[in-house]
Symmetry: D2
Subunit: 91 residues, 4 copies
Amino acid sequence: MARLSDAAIQDALRTLREWRLENGALTRDSTFPDFAAAFAFVTRLALLAERSDHHPDIDIRYNKVRVALLSHDAGGVTERDVKAAGAISAL
Amino acid sequence: MARLSDAAIQDALRTLREWRLENGALTRDSTFPDFAAAFAFVTRLALLAERSDHHPDIDIRYNKVRVALLSHDAGGVTERDVKAAGAISAL
Amino acid sequence: MARLSDAAIQDALRTLREWRLENGALTRDSTFPDFAAAFAFVTRLALLAERSDHHPDIDIRYNKVRVALLSHDAGGVTERDVKAAGAISAL
Amino acid sequence: MARLSDAAIQDALRTLREWRLENGALTRDSTFPDFAAAFAFVTRLALLAERSDHHPDIDIRYNKVRVALLSHDAGGVTERDVKAAGAISAL
Protein backbone atom coordinates (compact mmCIF):
# COMPACT_ATOMS: atom_id res chain seq x y z
CA MET A 1 0.00 0.00 0.00
CA ALA A 2 1.38 3.41 -1.01
CA ARG A 3 2.47 6.11 1.43
CA LEU A 4 -0.01 8.99 1.42
CA SER A 5 1.16 12.46 0.40
CA ASP A 6 1.21 15.18 3.05
CA ALA A 7 -1.80 16.77 1.35
CA ALA A 8 -3.74 13.49 1.46
CA ILE A 9 -2.89 13.04 5.16
CA GLN A 10 -4.05 16.57 5.98
CA ASP A 11 -7.21 15.85 4.06
CA ALA A 12 -7.82 12.66 6.06
CA LEU A 13 -7.16 14.50 9.34
CA ARG A 14 -10.07 16.84 8.60
CA THR A 15 -12.45 13.94 9.28
CA LEU A 16 -10.31 12.32 12.01
CA ARG A 17 -10.67 15.21 14.39
CA GLU A 18 -9.11 13.59 17.47
CA TRP A 19 -5.98 12.63 15.55
CA ARG A 20 -2.86 14.56 14.60
CA LEU A 21 0.33 13.88 12.65
CA GLU A 22 3.27 13.48 15.05
CA ASN A 23 6.65 11.99 14.22
CA GLY A 24 5.21 10.88 10.90
CA ALA A 25 2.41 8.84 12.49
CA LEU A 26 -1.33 9.35 13.00
CA THR A 27 -1.46 9.94 16.75
CA ARG A 28 -4.24 10.16 19.30
CA ASP A 29 -4.18 10.72 23.07
CA SER A 30 -7.03 9.50 25.24
CA THR A 31 -7.64 10.03 28.96
CA PHE A 32 -9.77 7.72 31.11
CA PRO A 33 -11.11 7.88 34.68
CA ASP A 34 -8.52 5.37 35.90
CA PHE A 35 -6.02 2.69 34.83
CA ALA A 36 -8.64 -0.06 34.61
CA ALA A 37 -10.76 1.94 32.16
CA ALA A 38 -7.65 2.84 30.16
CA PHE A 39 -6.59 -0.80 30.00
CA ALA A 40 -10.04 -1.95 28.87
CA PHE A 41 -9.62 0.46 25.93
CA VAL A 42 -6.12 -0.92 25.27
CA THR A 43 -7.60 -4.44 25.21
CA ARG A 44 -10.09 -3.33 22.56
CA LEU A 45 -7.19 -1.85 20.57
CA ALA A 46 -5.35 -5.17 20.85
CA LEU A 47 -8.36 -7.19 19.67
CA LEU A 48 -8.94 -4.82 16.74
CA ALA A 49 -5.24 -4.98 15.86
CA GLU A 50 -5.27 -8.78 15.70
CA ARG A 51 -8.54 -8.82 13.78
CA SER A 52 -7.21 -6.42 11.13
CA ASP A 53 -3.58 -7.56 11.38
CA HIS A 54 -2.46 -3.95 11.78
CA HIS A 55 -0.88 -3.07 15.11
CA PRO A 56 -0.60 0.48 16.41
CA ASP A 57 2.10 1.61 18.79
CA ILE A 58 0.46 1.92 22.22
CA ASP A 59 1.83 3.87 25.19
CA ILE A 60 0.12 3.50 28.57
CA ARG A 61 0.66 6.13 31.29
CA TYR A 62 -1.72 5.16 34.10
CA ASN A 63 -5.06 6.58 32.83
CA LYS A 64 -3.68 8.01 29.57
CA VAL A 65 -3.19 6.07 26.33
CA ARG A 66 -1.32 7.26 23.23
CA VAL A 67 -1.97 5.40 19.99
CA ALA A 68 0.25 5.92 16.92
CA LEU A 69 -0.46 4.47 13.48
CA LEU A 70 2.18 4.11 10.80
CA SER A 71 2.78 1.53 8.06
CA HIS A 72 6.42 0.62 8.59
CA ASP A 73 6.56 -1.35 5.33
CA ALA A 74 5.42 1.72 3.36
CA GLY A 75 7.60 4.13 5.34
CA GLY A 76 4.71 6.39 6.25
CA VAL A 77 0.99 6.81 6.70
CA THR A 78 -1.21 4.82 4.28
CA GLU A 79 -4.94 4.41 3.67
CA ARG A 80 -4.74 1.43 6.02
CA ASP A 81 -3.71 3.73 8.88
CA VAL A 82 -6.48 6.19 8.07
CA LYS A 83 -9.00 3.34 8.11
CA ALA A 84 -7.59 1.99 11.41
CA ALA A 85 -7.77 5.47 12.97
CA GLY A 86 -11.43 5.69 12.00
CA ALA A 87 -12.11 2.25 13.50
CA ILE A 88 -10.37 3.23 16.76
CA SER A 89 -12.35 6.45 16.99
CA ALA A 90 -15.52 4.38 16.60
CA LEU A 91 -14.73 2.12 19.58
CA MET B 1 -16.66 -13.59 56.69
CA ALA B 2 -20.02 -15.13 57.55
CA ARG B 3 -22.46 -16.57 55.03
CA LEU B 4 -25.51 -14.30 54.67
CA SER B 5 -28.95 -15.65 55.53
CA ASP B 6 -31.45 -16.07 52.69
CA ALA B 7 -33.37 -13.08 54.04
CA ALA B 8 -30.23 -10.93 54.02
CA ILE B 9 -29.45 -12.00 50.44
CA GLN B 10 -32.98 -11.15 49.29
CA ASP B 11 -32.60 -7.81 51.01
CA ALA B 12 -29.33 -7.13 49.19
CA LEU B 13 -30.87 -8.15 45.85
CA ARG B 14 -33.45 -5.38 46.22
CA THR B 15 -30.68 -2.83 45.58
CA LEU B 16 -28.71 -5.05 43.13
CA ARG B 17 -31.45 -5.08 40.52
CA GLU B 18 -29.46 -6.70 37.69
CA TRP B 19 -28.44 -9.62 39.91
CA ARG B 20 -30.25 -12.79 40.94
CA LEU B 21 -29.51 -15.78 43.16
CA GLU B 22 -28.73 -18.84 41.04
CA ASN B 23 -27.10 -22.06 42.20
CA GLY B 24 -26.36 -20.29 45.48
CA ALA B 25 -24.37 -17.47 43.85
CA LEU B 26 -25.08 -13.84 43.03
CA THR B 27 -25.38 -14.01 39.25
CA ARG B 28 -25.60 -11.44 36.48
CA ASP B 29 -25.88 -11.80 32.68
CA SER B 30 -24.67 -9.02 30.40
CA THR B 31 -24.97 -8.72 26.63
CA PHE B 32 -22.66 -6.58 24.49
CA PRO B 33 -22.64 -5.52 20.82
CA ASP B 34 -19.87 -8.00 19.98
CA PHE B 35 -17.13 -10.22 21.42
CA ALA B 36 -14.58 -7.39 21.64
CA ALA B 37 -16.89 -5.26 23.77
CA ALA B 38 -17.73 -8.28 25.93
CA PHE B 39 -14.06 -9.07 26.44
CA ALA B 40 -13.22 -5.47 27.38
CA PHE B 41 -15.81 -5.86 30.17
CA VAL B 42 -14.26 -9.18 31.19
CA THR B 43 -10.86 -7.46 31.37
CA ARG B 44 -12.33 -4.89 33.75
CA LEU B 45 -13.76 -7.73 35.85
CA ALA B 46 -10.32 -9.34 35.93
CA LEU B 47 -8.59 -6.12 37.03
CA LEU B 48 -11.21 -5.52 39.72
CA ALA B 49 -10.87 -9.13 40.89
CA GLU B 50 -7.11 -8.81 41.30
CA ARG B 51 -7.43 -5.42 42.97
CA SER B 52 -9.93 -6.72 45.53
CA ASP B 53 -8.54 -10.28 45.65
CA HIS B 54 -12.03 -11.67 45.08
CA HIS B 55 -12.54 -13.54 41.82
CA PRO B 56 -15.97 -14.16 40.31
CA ASP B 57 -16.73 -17.11 38.06
CA ILE B 58 -16.88 -15.73 34.50
CA ASP B 59 -18.51 -17.45 31.51
CA ILE B 60 -18.00 -15.94 28.04
CA ARG B 61 -20.39 -16.87 25.19
CA TYR B 62 -19.35 -14.61 22.29
CA ASN B 63 -21.07 -11.31 23.21
CA LYS B 64 -22.65 -12.56 26.45
CA VAL B 65 -20.93 -12.67 29.85
CA ARG B 66 -22.23 -14.40 32.98
CA VAL B 67 -20.67 -13.40 36.30
CA ALA B 68 -21.27 -15.42 39.48
CA LEU B 69 -20.14 -14.37 42.96
CA LEU B 70 -19.80 -16.79 45.84
CA SER B 71 -17.40 -17.02 48.78
CA HIS B 72 -16.20 -20.61 48.60
CA ASP B 73 -14.48 -20.38 52.01
CA ALA B 74 -17.77 -19.32 53.64
CA GLY B 75 -19.87 -21.81 51.66
CA GLY B 76 -22.23 -19.15 50.40
CA VAL B 77 -22.88 -15.50 49.63
CA THR B 78 -21.22 -13.02 52.01
CA GLU B 79 -21.10 -9.24 52.37
CA ARG B 80 -17.96 -9.38 50.25
CA ASP B 81 -19.95 -10.77 47.32
CA VAL B 82 -22.64 -8.14 47.76
CA LYS B 83 -19.96 -5.44 47.72
CA ALA B 84 -18.29 -6.97 44.65
CA ALA B 85 -21.65 -7.14 42.85
CA GLY B 86 -22.17 -3.44 43.51
CA ALA B 87 -18.68 -2.63 42.21
CA ILE B 88 -19.29 -4.67 39.04
CA SER B 89 -22.63 -2.94 38.44
CA ALA B 90 -20.80 0.39 38.73
CA LEU B 91 -18.28 -0.45 35.97
CA MET C 1 -18.70 -25.88 6.77
CA ALA C 2 -20.10 -29.37 7.33
CA ARG C 3 -20.61 -30.98 10.71
CA LEU C 4 -18.06 -33.78 11.25
CA SER C 5 -19.29 -37.33 11.77
CA ASP C 6 -18.72 -38.91 15.19
CA ALA C 7 -16.06 -41.13 13.61
CA ALA C 8 -14.25 -38.10 12.16
CA ILE C 9 -14.36 -36.32 15.55
CA GLN C 10 -12.93 -39.38 17.32
CA ASP C 11 -10.23 -39.50 14.67
CA ALA C 12 -9.36 -35.82 15.26
CA LEU C 13 -9.30 -36.36 19.04
CA ARG C 14 -6.50 -38.91 18.63
CA THR C 15 -4.14 -36.05 17.73
CA LEU C 16 -5.76 -33.49 20.07
CA ARG C 17 -4.83 -35.35 23.21
CA GLU C 18 -5.80 -32.65 25.75
CA TRP C 19 -9.29 -32.35 24.27
CA ARG C 20 -12.46 -34.39 24.73
CA LEU C 21 -15.99 -34.32 23.34
CA GLU C 22 -18.42 -32.99 25.95
CA ASN C 23 -21.97 -31.77 25.34
CA GLY C 24 -21.23 -31.99 21.63
CA ALA C 25 -18.25 -29.61 21.77
CA LEU C 26 -14.48 -30.04 21.69
CA THR C 27 -13.59 -29.24 25.29
CA ARG C 28 -10.35 -28.64 27.16
CA ASP C 29 -9.64 -27.83 30.81
CA SER C 30 -6.44 -26.00 31.80
CA THR C 31 -5.11 -25.20 35.25
CA PHE C 32 -2.67 -22.36 35.97
CA PRO C 33 -0.66 -21.29 39.03
CA ASP C 34 -3.05 -18.41 39.76
CA PHE C 35 -5.79 -16.20 38.33
CA ALA C 36 -3.37 -13.81 36.62
CA ALA C 37 -1.69 -16.62 34.69
CA ALA C 38 -5.10 -18.06 33.78
CA PHE C 39 -6.31 -14.69 32.56
CA ALA C 40 -3.20 -14.15 30.44
CA PHE C 41 -4.11 -17.42 28.70
CA VAL C 42 -7.71 -16.25 28.28
CA THR C 43 -6.41 -13.04 26.69
CA ARG C 44 -4.46 -15.12 24.16
CA LEU C 45 -7.64 -17.09 23.44
CA ALA C 46 -9.50 -13.83 22.89
CA LEU C 47 -6.86 -12.48 20.49
CA LEU C 48 -6.80 -15.76 18.56
CA ALA C 49 -10.60 -15.78 18.43
CA GLU C 50 -10.74 -12.30 16.93
CA ARG C 51 -7.93 -13.06 14.49
CA SER C 52 -9.65 -16.19 13.20
CA ASP C 53 -13.21 -14.91 13.75
CA HIS C 54 -14.08 -18.10 15.62
CA HIS C 55 -14.94 -17.67 19.29
CA PRO C 56 -14.84 -20.52 21.78
CA ASP C 57 -16.98 -20.61 24.90
CA ILE C 58 -14.68 -19.74 27.81
CA ASP C 59 -15.37 -20.44 31.50
CA ILE C 60 -13.01 -18.95 34.11
CA ARG C 61 -12.92 -20.43 37.65
CA TYR C 62 -10.06 -18.62 39.40
CA ASN C 63 -6.99 -20.51 38.08
CA LYS C 64 -8.94 -22.95 35.88
CA VAL C 65 -10.13 -22.28 32.33
CA ARG C 66 -12.52 -24.42 30.28
CA VAL C 67 -12.61 -23.88 26.53
CA ALA C 68 -15.36 -25.36 24.36
CA LEU C 69 -15.40 -25.27 20.56
CA LEU C 70 -18.54 -25.80 18.50
CA SER C 71 -19.77 -24.34 15.20
CA HIS C 72 -23.27 -23.17 16.07
CA ASP C 73 -24.11 -22.49 12.42
CA ALA C 74 -23.26 -26.10 11.51
CA GLY C 75 -24.92 -27.55 14.61
CA GLY C 76 -21.84 -29.45 15.67
CA VAL C 77 -18.07 -29.82 15.50
CA THR C 78 -16.47 -28.89 12.15
CA GLU C 79 -12.96 -28.87 10.70
CA ARG C 80 -12.80 -25.25 11.82
CA ASP C 81 -13.17 -26.33 15.46
CA VAL C 82 -10.52 -29.02 15.04
CA LYS C 83 -8.14 -26.44 13.57
CA ALA C 84 -8.93 -23.96 16.37
CA ALA C 85 -8.31 -26.66 19.00
CA GLY C 86 -4.90 -27.33 17.48
CA ALA C 87 -4.07 -23.61 17.47
CA ILE C 88 -5.11 -23.29 21.16
CA SER C 89 -2.99 -26.32 22.12
CA ALA C 90 -0.03 -24.62 20.40
CA LEU C 91 -0.32 -21.42 22.47
CA MET D 1 8.38 6.42 50.37
CA ALA D 2 11.79 8.03 49.95
CA ARG D 3 13.62 8.38 46.64
CA LEU D 4 16.62 6.03 46.52
CA SER D 5 20.12 7.47 46.14
CA ASP D 6 21.98 6.77 42.90
CA ALA D 7 24.23 4.39 44.81
CA ALA D 8 21.24 2.48 46.19
CA ILE D 9 19.72 2.23 42.70
CA GLN D 10 22.98 0.90 41.24
CA ASP D 11 23.08 -1.59 44.08
CA ALA D 12 19.53 -2.76 43.32
CA LEU D 13 20.34 -3.05 39.60
CA ARG D 14 23.02 -5.61 40.40
CA THR D 15 20.29 -8.10 41.28
CA LEU D 16 17.79 -6.85 38.64
CA ARG D 17 19.95 -7.85 35.70
CA GLU D 18 17.40 -7.26 32.93
CA TRP D 19 16.72 -3.73 34.12
CA ARG D 20 18.58 -0.46 33.57
CA LEU D 21 18.18 3.16 34.69
CA GLU D 22 16.88 5.29 31.80
CA ASN D 23 15.40 8.76 32.06
CA GLY D 24 15.38 8.30 35.83
CA ALA D 25 13.22 5.16 35.72
CA LEU D 26 13.90 1.46 36.15
CA THR D 27 13.44 0.25 32.56
CA ARG D 28 13.20 -3.14 30.92
CA ASP D 29 12.70 -4.17 27.27
CA SER D 30 11.18 -7.54 26.41
CA THR D 31 10.73 -9.18 23.02
CA PHE D 32 8.11 -11.87 22.29
CA PRO D 33 7.39 -14.15 19.32
CA ASP D 34 4.44 -12.03 18.21
CA PHE D 35 1.95 -9.35 19.27
CA ALA D 36 -0.40 -11.82 20.99
CA ALA D 37 2.37 -13.14 23.24
CA ALA D 38 3.52 -9.58 23.98
CA PHE D 39 -0.01 -8.53 24.88
CA ALA D 40 -0.52 -11.52 27.18
CA PHE D 41 2.56 -10.25 29.08
CA VAL D 42 1.12 -6.72 29.14
CA THR D 43 -2.11 -8.14 30.60
CA ARG D 44 -0.12 -9.76 33.40
CA LEU D 45 1.60 -6.40 34.01
CA ALA D 46 -1.81 -4.75 34.19
CA LEU D 47 -3.17 -7.29 36.69
CA LEU D 48 -0.04 -6.99 38.84
CA ALA D 49 -0.29 -3.19 38.69
CA GLU D 50 -3.88 -3.20 39.92
CA ARG D 51 -3.11 -5.78 42.60
CA SER D 52 -0.19 -3.74 43.97
CA ASP D 53 -1.68 -0.33 43.09
CA HIS D 54 1.59 0.64 41.38
CA HIS D 55 1.37 1.20 37.63
CA PRO D 56 4.41 1.13 35.35
CA ASP D 57 4.60 3.04 32.11
CA ILE D 58 4.10 0.49 29.32
CA ASP D 59 5.04 0.96 25.65
CA ILE D 60 3.91 -1.67 23.12
CA ARG D 61 5.63 -1.91 19.72
CA TYR D 62 4.16 -5.01 18.07
CA ASN D 63 6.13 -7.83 19.75
CA LYS D 64 8.28 -5.56 21.96
CA VAL D 65 7.26 -4.19 25.34
CA ARG D 66 9.08 -1.51 27.35
CA VAL D 67 8.26 -1.19 31.04
CA ALA D 68 9.39 1.81 33.09
CA LEU D 69 9.02 2.12 36.86
CA LEU D 70 9.17 5.41 38.70
CA SER D 71 7.40 6.77 41.78
CA HIS D 72 6.07 10.10 40.57
CA ASP D 73 5.06 11.17 44.09
CA ALA D 74 8.64 10.64 45.32
CA GLY D 75 10.22 12.18 42.21
CA GLY D 76 12.37 9.14 41.52
CA VAL D 77 12.99 5.45 42.02
CA THR D 78 11.93 4.05 45.40
CA GLU D 79 12.02 0.66 47.11
CA ARG D 80 8.50 0.15 45.75
CA ASP D 81 9.84 0.33 42.18
CA VAL D 82 12.65 -2.08 42.99
CA LYS D 83 10.12 -4.51 44.45
CA ALA D 84 7.82 -4.12 41.42
CA ALA D 85 10.74 -4.73 39.04
CA GLY D 86 11.53 -7.95 40.87
CA ALA D 87 7.89 -9.06 40.67
CA ILE D 88 7.77 -8.31 36.92
CA SER D 89 10.98 -10.26 36.33
CA ALA D 90 9.37 -13.21 38.14
CA LEU D 91 6.32 -13.31 35.83
